[in-house]
Amino acid sequence: MAHKRVNLNSGGSLPQVELRFGNALFAKYDVFLFDRNGSNPQPIKTDQLNSDNIPDIYTVGTTLSDLHQEILFWQAAISVLDNQPNQNYLMRAIITQDGNVLGTFDKRGPIVNTVIDQDTVRFIVG
């Protein structure tokens, strides 16, 4: 499946990505930036927790022009915190630029114990 796209305003500042995990589940996650060919991953932030006081928002890249066609990749290990039946997880990434939401990307599914899920988005500058 092709990577999803998000269009960045070439006159704007660097984009930000915020990760949210629904249903009050625990998550540990990484964010990487891949080159235009989908290789050479560079860490933006790794081994982050959604349970601490640190906001789960990160600025992506160093210059906007370099981000063109590059791929943002994030992955998370999500866990239930109790034994309630029929639990579901939601991993949501919100891409913003200058406070404007450019795209929201959800991955969801059932969870019994833990799940590792990942998602990608390709930046298009212009």
Binding site: H3, S39, I116
Partner: protein, 547 residues
């Protein structure tokens, strides 16, 4: 020797079958299929169990009963097995038949009915006899707990105005919890259930549905509701639903930090609704019962989402390394892009396989970490302070039409637990619980008329202090019950009990239990002092050892 004994036992029971008088039952329920067990004295330690097409009656060998069966019951395949000091009667029943055990006459008579029809479910009711399985999970008669279990309790219901009512309505797919004598707290004096039912609606209806719809999105909720009504807009029987409204509408936006920092969000997230319907058990009974339930944890210091130690434990999760190659895409038709795409594809399959293996490995590790961390949290928080309330109003429609619904009583529960947080010596080993429940118009079996049920109002209060250590366990319990049947006066009684268990050496324990009842109108206040030594192969305790 054992085989001979079993054969003799079986033959004697079969000879007795046609001889036992069962006139009372025949008068009330015509054409009913049932088996009657008649004991010489109250069978305090008997148990019944419904297990996948097989019904089991487990009695002490010293209390071997006489058996009889109804004339209409054909092809009864009864097996009798001797297991240590127990005699186990086993008989299979046809699919679509629901066994229903009823204890009568101060626990000296047990009748197992086989009620036909898919709308019935297996259940057990008691007029105060030995603890049946359904009572263990408190779904049928929450007030008939240990304080009510003595045979003399049945005498509380003498000279009542009886209303011949249909058997309590049931829903399909009910399940039983298997009997577990070795379960902590399974002794007669420590099994008073002081918890608030998770799904009060099912408790008020007296059912334990096997299939409960738990919608996790507004769409799933709406679909469930639509599937639960017929073409005329009437609720169908056997509908059982459990959901948290706040999580339905806002679960996607509920992050762990929001939950941890907002008391309102926590309260809403812990507010659970249940909904259930049941239908009459026979062709003549078209009644429909409906109940709504609310379960709210107002305060919970054992909430795992607030447990920093649990979060720290889960932070040891592993994430796999990032993929060496993401999915290949041809960006445009330039030679550079085509070359890059071809190069990407060369290593893509190997990268995909490598990634799958890494994800699998990390998931297995995380599963084991998560399970261990949550188990540890559960043990750590077993006695934490909390306050939980539950309520469930119910309605009945004698016609089965939703428009004819009218009030049919309800229930209210509350449990306040104190875990002695910050008190050295008690913090991890003790718990104090106070519990109140009120049931209005609860249908309980008439001890005198088979198939008849009485409407009962009851107020129950219980308090329990538990303390445990590897060498000493202790429990103090006080219970108070005030109840009345429709049109009768209230009867009140209370009970105190103390249990101590002290390890003498190795696996040898000294047990002491004492207590008594007061305030009974019939004057049959029982007292007891029991001492015993126990040498055990297992780690069974009469008083559960706090973790």
């Amino acid at each position: 020797m054992k085989t001979k004994f079993m054969a003799c036992l079986l033959i004697s029971q079969l000879f007795l079958l046609p001889r036992i008088g069962i006139s009372q039952t025949v008068e009330t329920i015509n054409d009913a299929n049932f088996v009657t067990f008649t004991f010489n004295s109250a069978c305090e330690d008997c148990a019944t169990q419904n297990n996948a097409g097989v019904y089991i009656v487990d009695v002490p060998s010293a209390s071997t009963p006489a058996l009889a069966k109804s004339q209409s019951l054909k092809d009864l395949n009864l097996q009798v097995t001797l297991k240590n000091d127990r005699v186990v009667y086993t008989f299979s029943f046809k699919p679509g038949t629901s066994p229903r055990a009823v204890w009568r006459k101060g626990a000296t008579v047990l009748q197992v009915f086989f009620v036909p029809g898919a709308d019935n479910l297996a259940t057990t009711v008691s007029d105060g006899g030995p603890k049946p399985v359904a009572a263990l999970n408190s779904s049928m008669a929450p007030v008939s707990d240990a304080s009510l279990n003595s045979p003399s309790t049945a005498n509380l219901v003498t000279a009542m105005t009886t209303t011949v009512a249909p058997l309590p309505s049931q829903t399909p797919n009910s399940s039983f919890t298997p009997i577990n004598r070795d379960a902590p707290g399974s002794t007669a004096f420590t099994n008073v259930d002081m918890s608030v039912p998770e799904s009060p609606a099912f408790t008020v209806l007296g059912v334990t549905p096997e299939t409960v719809i738990r919608p996790t999105s507004p769409r799933a909720f709406a679909t469930s509701l639509l599937n639960g009504v017929d073409v005329n807009g009437n609720f169908q029987s056997g509908l059982a639903m459990d959901f948290v409204p706040y999580l339905l509408v806002a679960g996607d936006d509920l992050t762990l930090r929001k939950y941890q920092t907002s008391p309102i969000v926590r309260l809403l997230s812990r507010s659970q609704f249940s909904f259930g319907t049941t239908k009459g058990a026979s062709e003549d009974d078209k009644s429909m019962r409906l109940a709504l339930g609310l379960h709210v944890a107002l305060w919970d210091r054992g909430d795992p989402r607030l447990d920093e130690t649990l979060m720290e434990c889960l932070s040891t999760f592993r994430l796999p390394p990032p993929p060496t190659q993401l999915e290949c895409e041809l960006l445009d038709n330039t030679p550079e892009s085509i070359a890059a795409f071809n190069k990407c594809q060369e290593g893509a399959e190997a990268a995909r396989l490598q990634r799958a293996a890494q994800v699998q490995e990390a998931t297995e590790f995380n599963n084991s970490v998560s399970t261990r961390c949550r188990d540890e949290a559960q043990k750590r928080n077993w006695n934490r302070s909390s306050w939980i309330i539950g309520a469930a109003p119910s309605w009945i429609s004698t016609t089965g039409q939703t428009k004819d619904m009218h009030w049919n009583g309800g229930g209210f529960w509350t449990s306040l637990a104190y875990g002695f947080e910050g008190v050295p010596g008690l913090e991890n080993r003790s718990q104090l619980i106070a519990h109140v429940r009120y049931r209005n118009r609860e249908q309980v079996p008439d001890p005198d008329i088979t198939g008849a049920f009485l409407s009962q109002d009851s107020l129950f209060f219980g308090a329990r202090f538990r303390h445990g250590s590897p060498t000493f366990n202790g429990s103090f319990e006080y219970t108070f019950l005030r109840s009345r049947f429709a049109g009768q006066r209230y009867d009140s009684s209370s009970r105190l009990s103390l249990l101590f268990e002290r390890r003498i050496a190795g696996d040898t324990w000294f047990n002491l239990s004492l207590g008594g009842e007061t305030g009974r109108q019939d004057g049959r206040n029982n007292g007891f002092v029991l001492t015993s030594f126990k040498w055990a192969f297992s780690d069974r305790r009469n008083v559960p050892t706090p973790q």
